[in-house]
């Protein structure tokens, strides 16, 4: 590369206390280049990108923009230089229209003129969107298009995409790649962050691989196989998850019969006539992109949002639809929600106290209203030993644990109860590869011991890795569960996009 790079980072380092998230990373992006930033969860990709976009300031190191030393003090300063970024979890104003949402990020201009510009950009790049539509009527993929249009309206020189396909169906992802190819053809460089190797190989012409905050490889992803890239990314062979055959299917332990529940709020998803039987011994995976009713389904199953008719949910044959979460736990069910912080665990409370959250009634840790602190501590120690949860001291606060360790604790807490029914939502979201493999192994082993395990996940790879049967959630409706061997990613992808089962 002889031309001056558009953006160059030299020996960029970011420390948080004693922890070095990004360690002397150098990176150069040429104009029009499609550059991939690869790495596991926790490799330092997000921290690096936040420094490039001005959200974080580097501890040391320097940035150069068109060869000139540059200090990017804030996202506004980054935008002024022509850097646009589409975040993984973008926040939008659901009640406003597309044009109004875009207007909030731009210098003031009449909404009508802006709508015209939005229409023009969406035409030019094949991003079909109606500027007048209300945001909450859009799918996640469409919302992402709005974010991309917002960036493109500022005529960026560099567009940063942070894990853009994590919220998309395979078909939507394919459409996104076409858009990005067109954007790059106009001369805009793209920094594409992902841990999905096939995408990177399809889209990018350069790649930087990060591991534990350091650059381990710079290469042309099209010249390497996915396997080579994966090994460099992970650095060691990670535990392979052996699914094995489902045990002889046992009795139905979790039954859903025409489960329907109106949306809890105007922007929620209502559940429509969901039926499913999960037998002892099997893992059933519920696939679907974000926001198709996963949280609502989990709440209805756990009893955090009881449903009107008892018969809609049955645990080991007992109708529990109208019962709360404590009653369902007493029947041998266990639950692990998606969000670790503030839902599955309380950050400011110690691990033994977090044991109490789900065990106080079901495991009798508070007989007569008095907390049995010794028993809670014993549970905490056993979960930590069995699931290799690394933390300092006998009773550290939950927030002192890394994401992977806290997730192992949250899952281990439920698995160690040996529940008859386990429902988990996003069991390995934002967790490093080692922890993810451990969690998946534990879920499969629990099922093989006779439990019915229902895994709700937006990670298709995960679903295919662990599920014996797969169903797809779309707009609050659940497709018929089919044997995993009869499903392909393409077929699941079509169902995720709302295709009719017969057509898929």
């Amino acid at each position: 590369m002889t031309a001056t790079p558009l953006l160059e980072a030299r020996r960029l380092t970011k420390r948080f206390g004693a922890f070095t998230a990004v360690d002397g990373v150098s990176l150069a992006i040429a104009p029009g280049e499609r550059h991939a930033l690869l790495g596991e969860n926790g490799a330092g990709k997000s921290t690096l990108v936040k420094m490039l976009y001005g959200v974080l300031q580097p501890t040391s190191g320097a940035l150069f923009w068109n060869g000139e030393p540059a200090r990017i003090a804030s996202p506004a300063a980054a935008r002024a230089r022509g850097v646009g970024m589409v975040f993984q979890h973008f926040s939008v104003f659901e009640a406003l229209s597309v044009a109004e949402n875009v207007a909030l990020a731009l210098p003031p201009e009449p909404i009508r003129a802006l709508s015209a510009r939005i229409a023009q950009v969406s035409q030019a790049y094949g991003l079909a969107i109606d500027p007048a539509r209300a945001m909450h009527t859009l799918s996640v993929g469409e919302k992402q298009r709005v974010e991309i249009i917002r960036c493109l309206l500022q005529s960026p020189r560099l567009l940063i995409m942070d894990e853009p396909t994590s919220v998309l169906t395979p078909q939507e992802a394919e459409a996104l790649f076409q858009v990005l190819t067109r954007v790059a053809a106009q001369g805009c460089a793209i920094l594409y962050i992902s841990h999905r190797l096939d995408e990177v190989r399809a889209l990018c012409d350069a790649a930087t691989i990060l591991r534990r905050g350091k650059v381990v490889e710079r290469c042309d992803p099209r010249a390497s196989s996915a396997r080579e890239l994966a090994e460099k990314m992970v650095g060691e062979s990670i535990g392979w998850v052996a699914r094995g055959d489902a045990a002889r299917p046992g009795p139905v332990r979790l039954g859903l019969h025409g489960l329907s529940l109106p949306a809890p709020d105007p922007f929620g998803v209502s559940l429509n006539d969901i039926s499913l039987a999960v037998r002892g011994g099997e893992v059933v995976g519920v696939a679907g992109v974000a926001g198709e009713g996963q949280s609502e389904l989990f709440a209805a199953l756990s009893g955090e949002a009881p449903v009107p008719q008892a018969a809609m949910v049955a645990i080991d044959g007992a109708p529990v639809g109208d019962k709360g979460i404590t009653a369902r736990r007493r029947l041998g069910a266990a639950f692990a929600p998606e969000e670790r912080n503030g839902h599955a665990a309380v950050g400011d409370m110690t691990l033994p106290e977090n044991i109490l959250l789900s065990h106080h009634a079901a495991e009798g840790l508070a007989r007569g209203g008095w907390i049995n602190a010794v028993a809670a501590r014993g549970w905490s120690d056993r979960v930590r030993a069995a699931f290799d949860v690394r933390a300092d001291g006998p009773a550290p606060p939950a927030r002192a644990l890394s994401g992977g360790n806290l997730q192992k604790f949250v899952i281990g807490r439920e698995v160690l109860r040996e529940p008859g029914v386990l429902v988990v939502n996003q069991p390995t979201w934002g967790v490093d590869a080692g922890a993810a493999a451990a969690i998946r192994r534990a879920l499969i082993a629990l099922a093989r011991r006779g439990a019915a395990v229902l895994v709700i996940s937006q990670d298709l790879d995960e679903i295919f890795e662990i599920a014996d049967r797969i169903a797809v959630l779309h707009h609050g409706r659940l497709s018929q569960a089919a044997d995993a061997s009869a499903m392909t990613p393409e077929r699941v992808g079509l169902l995720m996009g709302g295709a009719h089962p017969e057509a898929a």
């Binding site: 804030s74 955090e304 979460i325 969000e339 503030g342 839902h343 409370m349």
Partner: protein
């Protein structure tokens, strides 16, 4: 522009020392205030903060002032921990005094110590009824309990005025707005002869220790803490937020009402318009000074009691206005919240150009 940034690891030492730092800052600011008012700062501070400790009677008076503050403050500490903001303890205090006082006035010939039991229960009940209104509006209509409980304080004050100037006014009061004296059966017994130290002390200690045990050792306390810290985790644990709102409001309201009943029984013996002395609001400072811990509230109550007694002494000895006491208490809360904020967050200056 000045920004507030969260500190990565707030110091535990400073978090615990925050009340002491706030007290020290209050003393310094008070000295400056005294100097501005033309008084010798050291002499004035010694009247305020040393004179209350000088004799046994004064020390007993400190405890007498601290009793209602500790009763209310311990309840508020639990309530605030649940993230329920009962700001209307003053009104619940008044209703407790009115309910208990109404019972006492209705039974002018009562005799025997057992009458104290229904008397104190009536006080609790009065406070609970007044606290139930914001609890109901919050759980049923999602009305903000801060506003509702605060506004009900003024309603309670007007109700008190109405009663003592109207139907309950003593015929022997020469037109002064006050009721007849209660029968002796309704006077809390004095614990130490020669002082006004009364049985309320036992109630306050029981409340502080009992609530501390509840918060640290029982499932109910755990429930309160989880609901306050993470409402979704509370739902996951099977705890109902509405139930906790009711519990926190009724508990703090009941204790405020009990404090009202204790106060009129032990120190006044009748009802008059100024029974509250601002205890209901001062107890908010007590709860925060005690780190929202019921045992801490007992200490906080003693600190705030000093400012009350010191203020009375300063009125007599220095001819300082009574409002100076309120200024001290306000400064203390201000410095305390400022210390807490700066311990958890730090200030960063940003130049305008950085946008």
């Amino acid at each position: 522009m000045i920004l507030l940034e969260p500190r990565p690891a707030p110091s535990r030492l400073f978090s615990l020392a925050s009340p002491l730092i706030a007290i020290a800052l209050t003393l310094m600011a008070s000295a400056a205030l005294m100097a501005a008012m033309g008084r010798d700062p050291l002499a004035a501070l010694s009247v305020y903060f040393v004179s209350p400790f000088q004799d046994a009677y004064g020390r007993a008076e400190l405890v007498v002032k601290a009793i209602p503050l500790a009763l209310i403050g311990a309840g508020l500490a639990v309530c605030f921990r649940a993230n329920v903001w009962n700001i209307g303890a003053a009104g619940q205090f008044t209703l407790g005094a009115l309910a208990a006082g109404g019972l006492a006035l209705a039974l002018p010939n009562a005799a025997g110590p057992l009458w104290l039991v229904p008397y104190l229960l009536a006080g609790c009940l009065g406070g609970m009824v007044w606290a139930a209104i914001p609890a109901l509006l919050r759980t049923r209509f999602n009305a903000n309990e801060i506003l509702v409980s605060l506004m009900l304080t003024y309603v309670a004050g007007l109700l008190l005025d109405l009663l003592v100037r109207g139907p309950w006014r003593s015929p022997l009061s020469f037109g002064f707005p006050q009721t007849r004296d209660f029968a002796d059966a309704f006077a809390l017994p004095v614990l130490v002869a020669g002082t006004r130290l009364h049985l309320g002390l036992v109630l306050a200690v029981l409340a502080c220790v009992g609530l501390w045990l509840m918060m640290t050792r029982t499932l109910k306390g755990f429930e309160v803490r989880v609901v306050g810290a993470a409402p979704r985790a509370a739902g996951f644990a099977g705890f109902s937020e509405a139930r906790t709102v009711w519990f926190a409001m009724l508990l703090s309201g009941g204790l405020a009402g009990l404090a009202g009943a204790v106060e009129v029984s032990a120190t006044i013996g009748k009802i008059q318009p100024d029974i509250g002395a601002g205890y209901g609001f001062t107890a908010i400072i007590v709860a925060f000074l005690g780190r929202l811990n019921p045992l801490g509230a007992a200490l906080g109550a003693l600190v705030l009691a000093v400012s009350y007694i010191g203020g009375e002494n300063a009125q007599i000895l220095l001819k300082l206005p009574k409002n100076v006491t309120g200024v001290f208490q306000g400064m203390l809360l201000f410095f305390l919240l400022a210390c807490d904020t700066l311990i958890r967050w730090r200030l960063r200056l940003r130049r305008a150009g950085e946008a």
